[in-house]
């Protein structure tokens, strides 16, 4: 009988937390589209969307509604099953990564300690890498199922780009792991809480991670899979209606999640300076920590947009040269230096 005893509160707590995180990432992604258009407009000396609601704040709702009401077209010669599977995978994978990110410390509600992390798995970083690599399948399958040469070319580009940039990203993270000695994101944050942020020890590693994160999320200047002038829109050329919306949305969720990752791994996550000497109740401190993390994420999202509206797109050979001939050697050097220093300090 003891085997069957289920902690219902635990399940309820996790369900609530998962819903909250999902809603949070969807809302942030929604308003990223608004933010993107505003940032683009401001950088180009324009006003940006300002008709729907105050400051155009209802614009994402209008865009979403429009996408839902658009006619849905599935091309005759496409593979129907895979055509629908593509955006589904892209969306699913984009939402999955947020599970291992610690959104805050623990809350104490009615005597129960609730961790603001959906799953504190001890292989958090590995999990993220695994899920990220599945993300490219969404693009690959969508581009292949469309039965269109532009879509196919775009998905081939996407696949090789993501594989090429996953290597330096992984190598940059290995240096971080040598430093922290753990794969759990929660522990990485806790170490930064009592020490300096990891970006101080790993500036080059952070830089490499940042650049590769741009490539992994298909953001400019690495947005070759959706290079409009060459590929007519890229892998989602044949998509319409909400399936197109899912692809676009997945990109924004990915941006949100990678911003959260960078904030967590290199910028202290929910920890902020002077956190433990503030002397407020632990619950309030947790909420403040969550706010700190949120602000960090928003800064990174703004950075993504800022770069997009500044730097022109790379040519494909430039992209590959940068990935293989610059990023990987740099990441390897960073790894060797970090390893040497860690070893020297142990003796």
């Amino acid at each position: 009988m003891t085997l069957l005893s289920i902690d219902w509160f635990f399940i309820l707590e996790k369900i609530l937390l998962i819903s909250a995180v999902l809603v949070l990432s969807l809302v942030v992604a929604m308003y990223s589209t608004w933010g993107e258009r505003k940032v683009a407009a401001w950088i180009q000396d324009r006003l940006g969307p300002n008709r729907a609601g105050p400051m155009g704040l209802l614009q994402p709702l209008a865009d979403g509604g429009k996408l839902f009401f658009k006619e849905e077209i599935i091309p005759t010669n496409s593979n129907r099953f895979l055509f629908i599977l593509g955006p589904s995978i892209a969306m699913l994978v984009a939402c999955m990564t947020s599970a291992v990110i610690p959104w805050g410390d623990t809350l104490t509600i009615a005597g129960r300690t609730v961790s603001l992390q959906v799953a504190d798995v001890n292989i958090g970083i590995l999990f993220i890498f695994g899920v990220l690599s599945v993300g490219v399948y969404g693009i690959m399958i969508g581009g292949w199922a469309s039965n269109n040469k532009y879509s196919l070319l775009a998905s081939v580009r996407a696949a090789s780009q993501i594989i090429s940039y996953e290597l330096p990203m992984g190598l940059a993270l290995i240096a971080l792991l040598m430093l922290t000695g753990t794969l759990s994101l929660k522990e990485i944050v806790e170490q930064q809480r009592h020490d300096l942020w990891n970006v101080v020890y790993q500036p080059l590693g952070f830089f490499i991670f940042l650049v590769t994160a741009f490539a992994e999320t298909n953001r400019a200047p690495f947005d070759l899979p959706e290079a409009e002038n060459e590929l007519n829109g890229g892998y989602h050329l044949e998509y319409s209606s909400m399936k197109l919306g899912f692809y676009l949305f997945a990109e924004y969720i990915n941006m949100f999640v990678s911003s959260a990752l960078m904030a967590t791994m290199y910028f202290g996550g929910y920890a902020f300076p002077g956190m433990d000497s503030l002397g407020v109740s632990p619950n309030l401190l947790t909420m403040l920590g969550f706010l700190a993390l949120f602000v960090k994420i928003l800064v990174f999202i703004f950075f993504f947009m800022w770069v997009r509206w500044t730097i022109p797109r790379f040519r494909y050979d430039q992209l590959m040269r940068l990935g293989w001939r610059v990023m990987i050697p740099l990441a390897l050097a960073n790894m060797l230096i970090t390893g040497a220093i860690v070893l020297a300090r142990q003796h």
């Binding site: 940032v39 401001w42 950088i43 180009q44 000396d45 324009r46 006003l47 300002n50 800022w306 770069v307 509206w309 500044t310 730097i311």
Partner: protein, 168 residues
């Protein structure tokens, strides 16, 4: 070849130096420029709420003028139609009947006076040609309509309101 202006700059074709190859300084420079633009004054005018200032010589939609007694000044001489390079003005003249002296200033008047705003190029030649100060260009602009025939402005659209009737 002789240079046309003294502003021509020779293209720098020297190979990239090491800092150039790093790209990062150049990117940082570009980011700084876009960051400055983020806070600059916006060039956009939110049109229906805000309007741009016009210069005093702005040429907008036409008006047909009346004299101080509220009589139409136009005498249908056709000089505006002749001056019009876009051939946008059509008119039909009529003779003033006894008892219509309070309506028309001269013995001849325009029974029909039409300007096709889709043809008009807003050059202002009609205004210059008019010997009776009857046609003027206002500061109104951007006519809009759902149909082409809506852009043919007749006398009711062009005539300014009667100053005598308005004062009452």
């Amino acid at each position: 070849m002789q240079a046309l202006t003294n502003r021509a700059k020779p293209v720098d074709r020297s190979p990239l130096s090491f800092t150039d190859k790093l790209y990062v300084p150049a990117i940082a420079k570009g980011m700084w420029i876009t960051l400055k633009h983020l806070f600059k004054r916006k060039a956009t005018v939110a049109f229906p709420e805000q309007r741009r200032q016009f210069s005093p010589v702005f040429r907008g939609l036409h008006v047909l003028n009346r004299d101080e007694e509220g009589r139409e000044r136009c005498t249908a001489c056709g000089l505006c139609a002749v001056a019009c390079p876009a051939e946008a003005i059509t008119m039909e003249a009529a003779e003033r009947k006894p008892g219509e002296e309070h309506l028309y200033r001269e013995e001849k008047y325009a029974a029909r006076y039409e300007i096709n705003m889709l043809r008009c190029i807003f050059c202002g030649f009609c205004e210059e040609a008019c010997p009776k100060d009857a046609i003027y260009m206002s500061e109104t602009f951007a006519p809009s309509n759902y149909q082409r025939k809506g852009f043919i402005y007749g006398k009711p659209d062009l005539l300014i309101p009667d100053p005598k009737q308005q004062s009452k």
